[in-house]
């Protein structure tokens, strides 16, 4: 079993988001970076569980600069066997997908895992792009994955329910809540992570035709209007006449 888990690095959920003065670039100063939660908790952990049950190799892959190595080492500490970093600034979904596809094409992975989305771009784009580059089936928002020989059964989240699908290896998936339980790396994991291989691969050229050019903070809320708990008719009136939502 050869499994690839694509991990991205994102600002911690609780960090304050700001941009440079003309709003063209994210201000990384003072921001705590983490492994994108869906990549870590669901994709990576499920891949490690499958490897533990069936044998094989889990490769963690990040497209990013050397500064991301702390995040990559964490993936190794959680259980990935080896890691690959494609050395570049991850300039957008199209660019990142191209890098991952070029690397994965030669490696013949049985399953390529993505998170359902990154919590900074909120795109849900990269997984589908890689699947298309590799002409591979893609199951997005998978909340359950079981393997039986070379056939996988997955549940995927759809609007108001789940769809159960079956697919033969190889394929690509994006992982959502339910697929696995978060793992905290233990001391042994952290120690062995230091000696696991972390390969650096050069990036290929690719021009992304969609670029973020301007960032703004959302308009500030006017502030909460408080209504007394015994004045619910007044709240209903406000929702009808002022907010116009009922």
């Amino acid at each position: 079993m050869k499994l690839l888990v694509c991990i991205s690095q994102t600002p911690d959920t609780t960090s304050k988001i700001s941009f440079n003065a003309d709003g063209t670039e994210f201000n990384a100063g003072g921001v705590q970076f983490i492994m994108n939660p869906y990549d870590e908790w669901y994709a990576l952990v499920r891949a490690c569980e499958l490897r533990e049950a069936l044998g094989g190799t889990v490769v963690a892959l990040n497209v990013g600069p050397a500064a991301n190595e702390t995040t990559i080492r964490k993936a190794l500490a959680i259980g990935a066997d080896e890691a690959v970093r494609i050395d570049c600034e991850p300039k957008g979904a199209g660019f990142v997908a191209k890098q991952i596809a070029e690397y994965a094409r030669a490696e013949n992975f049985d399953i390529i895992f993505f998170g359902k989305e990154t919590i900074d771009h909120n795109g849900s784009e990269v997984g589908a792009m890689v699947a298309e580059h590799l002409d591979s089936p893609y199951v997005s928002y998978a909340s359950k994955l079981e393997l039986n020989g070379s056939t996988a059964t997955l549940e995927r989240d759809i609007e108001g329910g789940v769809e159960v699908v079956e697919i033969d290896l190889p394929f690509v998936l994006s992982a959502a809540k339910g697929m696995a339980e978060q793992r905290i790396p233990n001391m042994r994991g952290i120690m062995t992570a230091r000696s696991k291989p972390l390969k650096e691969v050069p990036a290929v050229a690719f021009e992304d035709a969609a670029k973020a050019v301007q960032f703004n903070l959302p308009p500030a809320k006017a502030g909460v209007k408080l209504v007394q708990p015994d004045q619910m008719d007044e709240l209903v009136r406000l929702l009808h006449e002022e907010a116009k939502v009922i």
């Binding site: 002409d135 209007k225 708990p229």
Partner: protein, 320 residues
């Protein structure tokens, strides 16, 4: 031409399809071109898409499209886009659209922006679109410069406008494709508007004390025709089913009205709901962080406030 893929899960258009066509029509008007809708698989009343602005409706009836498979769907959409010289392809940012958008973009060599939430500006060569990023904490404007541009539209970002008349439906064929995904079963809650589509959401948290108290939340939702949601610890404790869980790890929603009952408003919860148009917070703690993100607030005991609010809505509904 602007091509809109109007998705029809299990043979039926949902709101997402009407929103996408409405949006596609507005983009077409802005670019001085026409809006064409595409449907795949058997579907009822495909011509209805004309009412929302499609001047033509193309229908691929092939049985291969009865079940969703992003590989075959993306191939078909891209083929139709190429054959008709589409300059913009619009999809919905739904479970279907999220599996498709990246694939279609790769096939068409197109720049992609997913989850756009407002009308674009610019022209045929450079289109500028906006979306919410950093889990609702910022708005980004993207520039798309490829010949073909792909966008997926966030739910509830535009209101479906059905002011036109039905269009005639043209059957078209695409290269036959056999998907590799076998759909075994689909389990959905019947009779409930799924959370991502709901215009009003009534949501409750740990302040409810226990699952036995949820009747008042459901009654309020029934009065308002709303869908119910909950915070993560409530789902984790199995007080409520997991599909109701909203927030960073659950579903992200943007209803017109979000009523939060006994929820503190932690940042991970807000990440899934702060794009709601209007937020009402009911909490006994005036210091609850949710009040900072709220438009209207009631500081009080939910066990008293919620039944009163339900009565007030009932009175309002009876009078309107």
């Amino acid at each position: 031409m602007v091509l809109v893929f109007a998705e029809s899960p299990r043979g039926q258009f949902k709101k997402a399809a009407f929103e996408a066509v409405t949006y596609g029509k507005k983009v077409a008007d802005m670019l001085g071109t026409t809006c064409v809708a595409l449907t795949l698989g058997s579907v009822k009343d495909a011509g209805e898409l004309g009412r929302y602005g499609a001047s033509r409706v193309l229908h691929v009836a092939d049985a291969a499209f009865e079940h969703f498979d992003s590989q075959t769907y993306a191939a078909a959409i891209s083929e139709v886009a190429k054959n008709n010289n589409a300059s913009v392809v619009v999809l919905s940012h739904t479970s279907t659209g999220k599996s498709l958008a990246g694939r279609v973009a790769v096939r068409l060599n197109a720049g992609l922006v997913s989850g756009v939430n407002s009308l674009p500006t610019g022209n045929e060569s450079t289109l500028r679109v906006k979306k919410s990023v950093f889990s609702g904490k910022a708005i980004a404007e993207y520039e798309i410069t490829s010949a073909v541009k792909v966008v997926s539209l966030m739910g509830n970002a535009v209101k479906p406008e059905s002011t036109g008349s039905p269009a005639s439906v043209e059957t078209v064929s695409v290269a036959s494709a056999k998907g590799r995904i076998r759909v075994k079963s689909v389990k959905t809650q019947e009779g409930i508007v799924p959370l991502p589509e709901a215009e009003i959401v009534v949501s409750a948290g740990r302040g409810m004390k226990g699952p036995e108290n949820w009747a008042m939340v459901e009654e309020l939702a029934t009065t308002l025709g709303a869908t119910t949601a909950c915070s993560r610890p409530v789902a984790d404790a199995h007080w409520r089913p997991h599909h109701e869980h909203v927030g960073q790890t659950g579903i992200a929603i943007r209803p017109n009205l979000y009523i939060a009952i006994g929820i503190s408003g932690a940042i991970q919860h807000l990440a899934g709901v702060n794009n709601s148009k209007v937020i009402v917070v009911i909490n006994k703690d005036p210091e609850a962080p949710f009040f900072k993100a709220a438009d209207y607030g009631v500081v009080g005991d939910l066990f008293e406030v919620v039944p009163r609010l339900n009565e007030a809505f009932k009175k309002f509904k009876a009078a309107h």
